[in-house]
């Protein structure tokens, strides 16, 4: 026993302390409790991993039987294998850095303790999700992170857009969770258990399903769940709106950790997916379509956080593409490197926003290079990494993905390469608009305090060197068979060139000839407007799903079912009673003599009735 349970329960303790007493604590104590609990959790992860290394086989700890009902037996088990070890490191490590950063960023916000309580609660659920050894416990963490996401998106709950964005995230995730629940039911029907080792052992013995079948159904439903949590088509719409939350939330939950839960879950269930090629192909195409669509939207946005939000959706699409072509370890590698550079992008963006007093529109930025040099320096590292400049972390994972995709299908490969170029383009665009040229705003930019830029510096180092430091596919070899794509130098050159090309085009358009973007946008006209308005997907969902649902709920369920039928029956019964009572009320005149008269009348009726019945019985006798 290495007491794995301490890893999630330390942040839970932080949540309880801050949640219950945080209102009375000073900000210093709140942040010490919150950051300290995550730091301890991180150290405990390190200690546990040292103890269980090298983890050739999973280390499982069973604490108690959680649910026992008929043939359903679900123990409360935590397990760590190499896959969850990587996720643990990322979640607690990046989580710790973002916790530290948030103490600077959130310093002047109301409800400081509330923010940290939810942040710690999120860590608890995320770590439960990662450590779970069966689908149900994973689902607990899955739902829990969704809850925390909702709470933190709606952190500025007096802002209407923030609370509706929280609702949207929660409701859209319900659709995915519905798929996940159905998948769990099917898994229980098919395998009789929800334990990971048993299910995957049984799945390995199954034949590969070439046509539709049970395994395919399970995998497609799991994909629906993953699409909800990881913001893939068709359920990605909540993530861009989720940027209403504070920036550290966007960095931790909506970029680095929670949204990769879907990727983790699919990778975890790889034994099932490998038996369902149809589902795998679907995963790949969903990922690719999401990557392309979100990347193109990212080009046109002006809100710096929106750009990075669509970038996140797009990068998650990349991860799904990797999973779909069977390169699970490349997908997880991208999870790790993406956690570094995307967290850095968001935190850097937060630093810019902080510097400009909550200005998020890039049209009001520019020329910040000299004004906030440290932020510029660290963001440059993230910029290089996400653009796939050779030997940065993003380059390693992206090349691993593209190599595997090329082995699977050259068509997908070329689309992927194009997307890589677009990715490099829109990130460069955001950098050029923010840091280069003339300052177009009116605020007085100031550099962020060290407590904010120090975590950024760590992430910057990781963004640059993380790919070389953590060779994830090598670590994951015992779990996932080595990816097919052998190192093809030609593919790597093409991939790198795509990234550099993107940067170059952005340089030409935004530095060399600044008038170009507007004229191109004008010449494209309708196409530009289509992309700028995010392909009108929100509007289409609104028209085809939300409005009919709202209208039918309003008409059929509310006006007819509730108001007319249920209220009608209840009010009818009530009205009938009143009517009867109104009649009977007249008897209560208050005059004793009338009461007595009624008594006499009753007695007379009774005697007559008794006589009639008695007479009838006498007659029978």
């Amino acid at each position: 026993m290495h007491h794995l349970w301490l890893i999630p329960f330390l942040p839970l303790a932080g949540f309880l302390v801050n949640g219950l007493f945080g209102k009375r604590f000073s900000k210093g104590i709140v942040s010490v409790v919150a950051i300290g609990s995550v730091a301890l959790s991180f150290l405990w992860v390190l200690k546990c991993l040292m103890a269980v290394a090298p983890l050739e086989t999973p280390h499982v700890e069973r604490y108690f039987m959680w649910i026992q009902s008929g043939s359903l037996a679900i123990p409360f088990e935590l397990a760590v294998d190499r896959l969850s070890a990587i996720m643990l490191m990322v979640v607690t490590g990046v989580g710790l850095l973002i916790h530290i950063y948030a103490s600077g960023y959130m310093h002047d916000e109301d409800g400081y303790y509330r923010f940290y309580a939810f942040f710690n609660l999120f860590m608890f659920f995320m770590l439960t999700l990662v450590l779970a050894n069966n689908f149900l416990l994973l689902f607990v963490g899955w739902e829990g992170v969704g809850l925390c996401s909702y709470l933190l998106i709606g952190y500025y709950f007096v802002k209407h857009s923030a609370s509706t964005a929280g609702n949207k995230a929660f409701i859209v995730n319900r659709i995915g969770d519905f798929g996940f629940s159905l998948a769990m039911f099917l898994i229980f029907i098919a395998f009789g258990t929800l334990d990971f080792p048993k299910v995957f052992e049984a799945a390995k013995a199954l034949p590969v399903e070439t046509a539709a079948g049970m395994t395919t159904a399970i995998c497609l439903l799991l994909l629906l769940g993953a699409a909800g949590k990881s913001a893939q088509i068709p359920l990605y719409v909540w993530l861009p709106d989720a940027m209403e939350g504070p920036t550290p939330v966007s960095a931790l939950i909506h970029a680095a950790t929670m949204v990769t839960a879907g990727v983790y879950m699919v990778a975890r269930s790889s034994a099932l997916f490998l038996k369902a090629p149809v589902a795998m192909e679907t995963v790949a195409w969903v990922g690719l379509a999401t990557a392309v669509m979100a990347a193109t939207i990212g080009i046109t946005q002006f809100d710096i956080k929106k750009v990075y939000a669509y970038s996140t959706v797009s990068q998650l699409g990349y991860m799904f593409l990797a999973l779909g072509v069977g390169a699970f370890s490349a997908g997880i590698w991208h999870v790790v490197t993406h956690a570094f550079f995307k967290a850095l992008l968001f935190l850097g963006a937060g630093s810019v926003i902080h510097a400009l007093h909550h200005e998020q529109d890039m049209r009001h930025m520019g020329g910040l290079r000299q004004k906030i040099p440290i932020t510029f320096a660290v963001l440059t590292c993230a910029w290089l990494a996400i653009s796939g400049v050779p030997f940065t972390s993003g380059w390693y994972s992206k090349e691993a993905i593209l190599g595997a995709v090329h082995h699977h299908s050259p068509l997908m490969y070329w689309i992927g390469v194009g997307t890589a170029a677009v990715t490099a383009f829109y990130v460069s665009r955001s950098m050029f608009m923010t840091f280069f040229g003339e300052y177009r705003g009116h605020a007085h930019p100031h550099e962020s305090p060290p407590v904010m830029w120090a975590p950024l510096a760590v992430l910057a180092v990781l963004s640059l060197a993380g790919g070389a430091l953590f060779n994830v596919p090598h670590i994951l070899e015992p779990i996932f068979p080595a990816a097919h794509g052998e190192h093809d130098i030609m593919l790597e050159i093409i991939g790198s060139a795509a990234g550099l090309l993107g940067i170059g085009i952005a340089y030409v358009m935004y530095i060399a000839s600044p008038g170009m973007p507007a004229s191109i946008a004008a010449s494209l006209g309708g196409v530009y407007r289509l992309v700028y308005n995010k392909y009108y997907v929100d509007e289409a969902y609104d028209a085809t799903i939300v409005r009919p649902l709202v209208n039918s709920s309003r008409g059929a369920l509310w006006q007819f079912g509730d108001v007319w039928l249920i209220d009608g029956v209840v009010n009818g019964i009530g009205g009938f009673s009143r009517w009867i009572g109104g009649g009977l009320r007249l008897l209560q005149s208050g005059s004793i003599r009338s009461y007595a008269a009624w008594v006499v009348a009753g007695a007379v009726i009774f005697i007559i009735a008794a006589g009639v019945i008695g007479g009838a019985q006498g007659g029978l006798r």
Partner: protein, 108 residues
């Protein structure tokens, strides 16, 4: 045709009819008189009508139960008379009248 038995005592029916008449008089007095005292006396009349029935049946069936009931009723009636008269006195002191139509504060 055998001769009818010569009645040796007043038959039961006569008692019951007398009792019913007394009871009906009590009810009528209760319903139609205005004075509280008269109403009170009517109640006593009804009680005694019932007592008469009890005694008659008791004699007819040669059982003592009816007598017992009668004694109970008399005891209760005595107690009731004491309480009732006290209430009537109090009502008269407070209201200055014994007309039931005017003593109607039970009415909302």
């Amino acid at each position: 045709m055998p001769p009818l038995p010569i009645p040796t005592a007043v038959p039961l029916t006569y008692y019951l009819i007398l009792s019913a008449i007394l009871f009906a008089l009590g009810v009528a007095g209760f319903l139609f008189r205005r004075s509280l005292i008269t109403i009170f006396m009517s109640i006593e009349l009804m009680l005694n009508a019932v007592n008469l029935t009890f005694v008659a049946f008791s004699y007819h069936h040669k059982q003592v139960d009816g007598h017992l009931f009668t004694f109970f009723v008399m005891v209760v009636a005595a107690a009731e008379a004491a309480v009732g008269l006290a209430i009537i006195l109090t009502v008269f002191k407070n209201r200055g009248t014994l007309a039931v139509d005017e003593i109607d504060s039970l009415k909302l």
